[in-house]
């Protein structure tokens, strides 16, 4: 029964490298190495981000629950990010602003830089500057950063639902989003063809 290795073990490190190669390959193949393609989700001309991102999320969420059912993976042993209420919300909002200005996120900028996108290399340079800034002034907001830790809480617990009911709603919502964004994308591209 999984997980097979601890992340820090040598085999965990080798696996991380292989997983990283697959991750980068898929991102680049799907077009995530282009900032203009990524930004399309915010202007309605290209929803590839939503399509790939939510398909991956529902595939992984369903897969992990089935691995649990079959007794292949102990879900209580895997890492679940802690929910620090204020820090998570503020961090997410700053990332959203960074995304719309910079056109990448860290993973996508890495695979875009790997194929020679200079804007992605600059984004990564900026990212490192941001990390240094965060570290330099850390004592100013350390309290906020560590406040309101709700622990590794699950979304269905937060909503007071059964896990399976939440999963069903999540999948239905994703399929609706795929349909709705396909309609929007068609309308936006028809409109821009007129010019």
């Amino acid at each position: 029964m999984g997980p097979l290795f601890n992340a820090g073990e040598p085999w965990g490190l080798v696996t991380a490298l292989v997983i990283g190669i697959a991750f980068g390959y898929i991102l680049e193949s799907a077009g995530f190495s282009s900032s203009r393609k990524l930004a399309g989700i915010f202007y309605g001309y290209d929803f590839v981000v939503l399509q790939v991102f939510f398909t991956a999320a529902i595939t992984a969420a369903l897969g992990l629950v089935f691995f649990d059912y079959f007794g292949w993976l102990d879900l209580s042993a895997i890492w679940v990010n802690r929910f620090y209420v204020g820090s998570t919300i503020v961090g997410g909002a700053i990332m959203g602003l960074g995304f719309i200005i910079g056109g990448f996120c860290p993973g996508t900028s890495a695979c875009a830089a790997a194929i020679g996108k200079i804007d992605a290399m600059l984004f990564l340079g900026g990212f490192i500057i941001g990390v240094i800034i965060f570290d330099a002034f850390y004592p100013l907001y350390e309290g906020f950063y560590k406040a309101d830790n709700l622990g590794p809480v699950k979304i269905y617990e937060s909503l007071g639902m059964d896990r399976e009911v939440f999963l069903l709603i999540f999948v239905v919502f994703a399929i609706f989003a795929f349909w709705a964004t396909a309609v929007i994308q068609k309308k936006v591209s028809e409109k821009s063809n007129k010019y």
Binding site: L4, V52, A114, I115, L124
Partner: protein
């Protein structure tokens, strides 16, 4: 003189739903083998911590630094799976670019803005993402995608905030893109 050379045109991108299913399988395998999911931002934070450890150890090896736990008790911040993973992302991205004829040194930008404007925006956006992913304890992949995969509340909140803020600010920055 123009070079007369027929280059192979870039191949089409993969179907997004196929890419999504493959990415989902990669996430499942990552949790199955290593207990943890994907991540991109962590490796860069660790890189910064490594440089700080060399040039300003008195800072990073104290409670004043956000990266104290990376170096505590003489640990090497680069001795971590996320560092191996980001090396993999560069290799995988490069392989896909090579196979699909997309390797090209290029600063991509909307025809309505200059290269310089795009370059400045990329640096500022990157810096904001660096600060945001520190507060968020991970980025779109490590906090968002992994979080949704394991049904963590933090994952759904961070994704809602990234895209919510993106849509709210999109109007102000539309000239950068459309």
């Amino acid at each position: 003189m123009e070079e007369v050379k027929i280059q192979n045109p870039p191949k089409k991108y993969m179907n997004p739903y196929l890419a999504g299913v493959l990415l989902g399988i990669v996430i499942i395998l990552s949790f199955y083998f290593t207990r943890e999911g994907l991540g991109a931002s962590g490796a860069f934070k660790r890189g910064v911590a490594k440089v700080e450890q060399i040039i300003i150890p008195s800072h990073v090896e104290s409670e004043k630094s956000a990266f104290y736990h990376y170096v505590k008790n003489g640990k090497d911040p680069l001795d971590n799976r996320l560092v191996y993973m980001i090396i993999g992302v560069f290799i995988g991205g490069f392989l896909s670019g090579a196979i699909n004829n997309r390797l090209k040194l290029k600063l991509e930008h909307s025809p309505k803005i200059t290269s310089k404007k795009r370059a400045i925006a990329a640096v500022i956006g990157g810096a904001l993402f660096g600060i945001g992913s520190a507060f968020g304890r991970g980025c779109t992949s490590g906090a968002g995608l992994d979080g949704m995969a394991v049904l963590a509340t933090s994952g759904f909140v961070v994704v809602a905030m990234i895209f919510g803020a993106g849509y709210i600010f999109a109007w102000f920055f539309r000239k950068l893109w459309i």
